[in-house]
């Protein structure tokens, strides 16, 4: 570990200024649950840590009633869903901790799958320190916060020397541990349209144990229930089975509008193998991960069909 300086900016503008000045030698730190490990192991040796933990405006979780994503001007993306009217937009600040998101009434109502995912990150200690912005910025394909954001079709607000921009979440992740953040940019937060009253969702995670587990495979699912056994507006994302989190568009299409029984659910879940491209590592083989992507989705669908509450991964 090399010595480093810590600077504690009072505003986002100041943070961005410092980041721009030091370029790759600077690194944002919030909870530090990923970064400090990398520094300790000499995988990163920043000279300046920009501690943004005092920027309280980034800690907020709020509802932005019926408005378009204001920072979404660049993409001009409308959050409107086809036939359901305009739901509220929810903004989760980058400094919101996993524990705060997991217990936030706003998130639990608007996007239960995101609350569920945050409830299964690491351990109570890690959830108390680690932040949503950190999980996104680290850009691990196994980051548990990310698949729900894909399923929510969220956008990521970032600020840099050239101002604020909003990046569609799928475009934000470029590769393993690589994001679209330009030099000098930092994540401000994420925004997404709340799920409608007829929407159901789940997040499931397969780890090597029930806590302090890095996902071997994870899946996030959101869809509108049009009948007890059929969905549309299906959005599915998988974690840890490709260089980035990926949407499962083959499965989404196949599921849309189909009447499901367990056999059909199984068959369609198996299509997930077309959407994922896992590798073998110390946590699991490529073949196992591929099958688990299918089976986690299937387990989740079975729960939805049986009417039991959308159970996520076990753990804590």
């Amino acid at each position: 570990m090399r010595p480093f300086c810590v600077t504690v900016p009072e505003s986002v503008e100041e943070a961005v200024r410092v980041l721009a000045k030091w370029g790759p030698e600077a690194h944002v730190i919030a909870g530090g649950t990923d970064l400090l490990v990398e520094i300790k192991e000499d995988r990163r040796s920043p000279k300046v840590l920009v501690d943004i933990s005092r920027l309280d405006e980034l800690r907020q979780i709020r509802v932005e009633c019926g408005v378009k994503a204001e920072a979404g001007a660049e993409t001009g993306r409308e959050c409107k869903r086809t036939d359901e009217g305009e739901g509220d937009v929810v903004w989760v600040g980058a400094l919101a901790t996993h524990a705060e998101v997991a217990s936030s009434p706003v998130v639990r109502k608007a996007a239960p799958l995101l609350a569920e995912a945050c409830a299964h990150v690491g351990s109570p200690q890690i959830r108390g320190r680690g932040t949503v912005g950190g999980n996104i910025s680290t850009a691990s394909p196994a980051g548990d916060v990310i698949p729900p954001l894909f399923a929510l079709e969220a956008s990521v607000d970032v600020e840099g020397p050239r101002g604020v921009r909003s990046v569609d979440v799928e475009s934000f992740f470029v590769g393993p541990k690589r994001s679209a953040l330009a030099p000098g940019e930092m994540v401000l937060g994420v925004r997404f349209r709340e799920l409608g009253p007829n929407h159901v969702s789940f997040f499931r995670k397969l780890g090597q144990r029930r806590s302090l587990a890095i996902s071997v495979v994870s899946v996030a699912f959101a869809a509108r229930k049009v009948r007890p056994d059929a969905f549309d507006d299906v959005r599915i994302a998988f974690g840890a089975v490709a260089p980035t989190v990926v949407r499962a568009r083959t499965v989404e299409k196949a599921l849309c509008g189909k009447r499901l029984d367990p056999v059909m659910a199984r068959q369609i879940s198996r299509l997930a193998f077309r959407d994922v491209m896992p590798i073998t590592d110390i946590r699991g083989s490529q073949a196992y991960r591929q099958e688990m992507a299918c089976n986690l989705l299937y387990e989740g669908l079975l729960d939805l069909l049986s009417g039991s509450p959308a159970a996520g991964a076990r753990g804590g």
Binding site: R209, S211, I282, N295, G315
Partner: protein
């Protein structure tokens, strides 16, 4: 005197308050004025020749006080409990990634680590030997000059071939077990100090201060009396601190610099350099008659001991001894190999060779029972050794035998008695439940051929309390509390009146290791012996002071009285008063006691440590739920039924039992130090997976007492057995749930899933 006022009571651990408040200082917490930080340069290759070591750049660095290599080892450049084949600092060859090549002492921890990088070592890489079976071939590269087979054991009794010929059922399988890590909370760490006369004190958590003292002395070429070793407290050990860890490095650096030196291994360094459980490949062929009588067992064990011997030979010996478990087995052919490779180090680990073979055997037993359509518990009961039976190695089971009692208790426990009902209620349709059972016996002490001995001291302190010294270190198992309880009852005082002195080579007598399920039995017997002598001394002093005859002195609570004297008369002396009288007369009121272990009626020539006379017994039952879509196994409930002879402290037994169940569960389902081509792939706790509190099942401990007449208050050891049969109980439960036999542990979700797929 009330002989068991404290023994058998749920006494709070005497170290509990200091531990939960954080007041207790472990050795890695100690600091001394002017202290330096030490660091160890480890090998860059799993197998290589050293061509040159140049330390000049490191020596020139600011803050670096000393850089040591093999040239600076004054005595024998080697250590090892059985054979000193591990270099203190490698001279011409490295044999694993954890091999130490040089030491640095510097004024800061960071400075010491940076200096390591400035040491220039030129290597010539050699082919890596990483498969134990291949290592045994004559054509394989040699890890050591004498060849890669460090130890070979072969035991044959009866007519195995005839038994297989006549048997109704024969099952034969190959089992694989993982390289489990001790995963103690405190890594190998400590401090050495040196005084102006050159006397060295090594403060380092370990399992046998007196042997450490001798090993350090041998490497330093120094009179052992000039070296003090303080081993208590250790932040966990489990066998992983039985061998020398950093003690010699600390002593060498203190000797060279004349200053205190501290070394704390990082977790990653500990994983790479430290001891592990032997991975074993076990071929087992077991036969039974149609009526369910076991007839024969043929076993071949190959254990991967890694680069150096340490206790690898004895571990394989004990694997052979435990490979027929609790059963009458008239015909056996048992063979074990302990093999050198470049895969890390393997040595002592709670269970000491039994975990591997009991997993294999208890799976075989379930298979045979199933083939014969017999109840698995009844099958075990039918074949279990009783007192007076001849065991597989040919010795007679003369000591207490608890198998039947623990099986009886298992048959009554809820998850066994209601197993069909519990099985029928999985939490989801795609999940399946099963119940498994397994049992074992576990040798206590060092066995035949290794004289096992212990000693204790008792001293009456000025305030009337007793200092009780037993060197077997407190490694977290709670032995000091048990010692205090036994001492209190032996002296007729309260636990609060006992001050335990533990794990210190200067202030205690040698009572041997805190290993081998031996310390409570050994230390307790030594305390009983010392207490008897102490009472004689106290009676002498009291008789003289009270003007009574020695025979008239009786011991009561907290003191003595004259027997014939009417109650209430002033002819009673408290221990505090006796202490004052002794002090007045300049008499040092101190007694020593000792104890030598009894041994089995028959040894095995050439195989030290075999067999044992005294065994602890345990049966464990597990209820699991298997997710057939992911292969995940959840252990819902576990019942642990140990026979400790006599529970000195039932709360202590429960703590051991619960910790053991979780450790054995980690072995069954998760834990493996993966080494590929000599390189560790799981160097920390994000890749080496151990169970967390959320993974632990609900654990019930039912203590069954079959008193051991030779034990203190009837006690025998329990520290190891508690983590052994739970492993096959879980894998047998997986079979009960799914029909799949697990022969390769850990049964990770992926392994179970793939096995289910193959089975379907």
């Amino acid at each position: 005197m009330d002989e068991s006022r404290w023994v058998g009571a749920r006494v709070a651990r005497i170290d509990a308050e200091d531990k939960v408040t954080g007041r207790l200082k472990f050795m890695s917490d100690l600091s001394f004025p002017d202290m330096l930080w030490g660091a160890v340069l480890r090998s860059a290759y799993p197998h290589a020749l050293i061509k040159k070591i140049d330390t000049s750049k490191a020596e020139a660095m600011d803050g670096v006080v000393a850089v040591l290599t093999h040239r600076d080892v004054p005595g024998l450049n080697g250590f090892g409990i059985v054979v000193p084949d591990q270099p203190v600092l490698c001279a011409d060859k490295v044999r694993y990634m954890g091999d130490a090549v040089a030491l640095v002492a510097a004024t800061t921890k960071e400075g010491a680590r940076e200096a390591l990088q400035a040491i220039d070592v030129e290597y010539e890489p050699l082919p890596v030997v990483d498969d134990p079976e291949e290592a045994m071939l004559e054509s394989s590269p040699r890890v050591h000059a004498d060849g890669n087979i460090h130890h070979h054991i072969k035991v044959e009794r009866g007519d195995v071939d005839a038994a297989f010929r006549d048997a109704a059922v024969v099952v034969e399988n190959t089992y694989y077990t993982p390289r489990q890590m001790h995963a103690f909370m405190e890594t190998e760490s400590g401090v050495a100090t040196i005084d102006e006369d050159g006397n060295i004190t090594v403060w380092c958590g370990s399992q046998h201060p007196f042997r450490d003292q001798l090993q350090i002395a041998r490497a330093l070429g120094m009179n052992p009396r000039k070296i003090q070793v303080v081993s208590t407290p250790a932040g966990g050990a489990f066998g992983g601190k039985d061998e020398i860890t950093v003690q010699i490095y600390l002593a060498l650096l203190a000797l060279r610099t004349g200053r205190p030196v501290k070394i704390v291994l990082s977790r990653e360094e500990s994983v790479v350099a430290g001891m592990k459980r032997h991975p074993m490949k076990i071929r087992m062929k077991t036969a039974a008659a149609a009526d369910g009588t076991l007839l024969a067992n043929e076993v071949r064990v190959v254990g991967d001991t890694g680069a150096y011997a340490s206790l690898g030979g004895p571990v394989v010996n004990l694997a052979i001894e435990h490979s027929c478990g609790v059963y009458r087995m008239p015909n056996v052919r048992l063979e074990g190999f302990c093999v050198y490779t470049n895969n890390g180090l393997a040595g002592a680990f709670r269970g000491f060779g039994a975990n591997q073979v009991v997993f294999a055997l208890e799976t075989q037993i379930d298979m045979i029972a199933e083939r014969l359509g017999m109840d698995k518990l009844e099958f075990r009961r039918k074949n279990a050794l009783r007192q007076g039976d001849v065991a597989a190695l040919g010795h007679t089971m003369t000591a207490s035998v608890g198998t039947i009692a623990t099986l009886d208790a298992a048959s009554r426990c809820e998850i066994w008695a209601r197993r069909e009902e519990l099985k029928a209620m999985p939490s989801a349709p795609h999940k399946k439940r099963g119940i498994g059972i397994a049992t074992e016996l576990h040798g206590c002490g060092l066995g035949v051929g290794l004289p096992d001995y212990g000693a204790a001291t008792i001293e009456l302190l000025p305030g009337g309390r007793f200092a009780v010294g037993v060197s077997c270190p407190e490694i977290g198992q709670g032995n000091t509390t048990a010692f205090a309880q036994m001492a209190a009852d032996s002296l007729g005082c309260s636990v609060g009146d006992i001050v335990m002195v533990s794990g210190d080579s200067r202030h205690t007598l040698d009572s041997g290791t805190s290993t081998a399920s031996r310390s409570v039995y050994t230390g307790g017997n030594a305390i009983r012996s010392a207490a008897a002598r102490m009472r004689e001394i106290l009676a002498d002093v009291a008789a003289e002071a009270l003007g009574a005859a020695r025979e008239e002195i009786a011991f009561g609570r907290g003191g003595v009285e004259v027997r014939s004297c009417p109650a209430g008369a002033a002819r009673r002396l408290s221990y505090r008063e006796i202490a004052r009288i002794g002090e007045g007369k300049g008499r040092h009121l101190k007694a020593e006691g000792d104890f030598i272990w009894p041994v089995a009626d028959r040894g095995l020539e050439g195989y030290f440590g075999l067999p044992h006379l005294i065994y602890s017994y345990i049966t464990q039952v597990a209820l699991v739920e298997v997710d057939t879509l992911t292969g995940e196994v959840e252990v819902l409930r576990a019942v642990s039924i140990p026979d400790p002879g006599r529970a000195i402290n039932p709360a202590g037994i429960e703590a051991q039992s619960e910790g053991g169940v979780v450790m054995g569960m980690g072995y069954a389902l998760m834990e493996d130090t993966v080494i590929e081509h000599g390189i560790t792939k799981t160097p920390n706790f994000s890749t080496y997976i151990i169970p967390t509190a959320l993974d632990a099942p609900e654990i019930e401990t039912i203590i069954v007492e079959e008193p051991e007449p030779s034990g203190p208050f009837g006690a025998k050891g329990i520290g190891e057995a508690v983590c052994v049969p739970i492993t096959p109980a879980i894998t047998n439960a997986i079979h009960d749930a799914t029909g799949v036999w697990i022969t390769h542990i850990p049964a990770t979700a992926e392994r179970v899933y793939m096995a289910l797929k193959e089975h379907a």
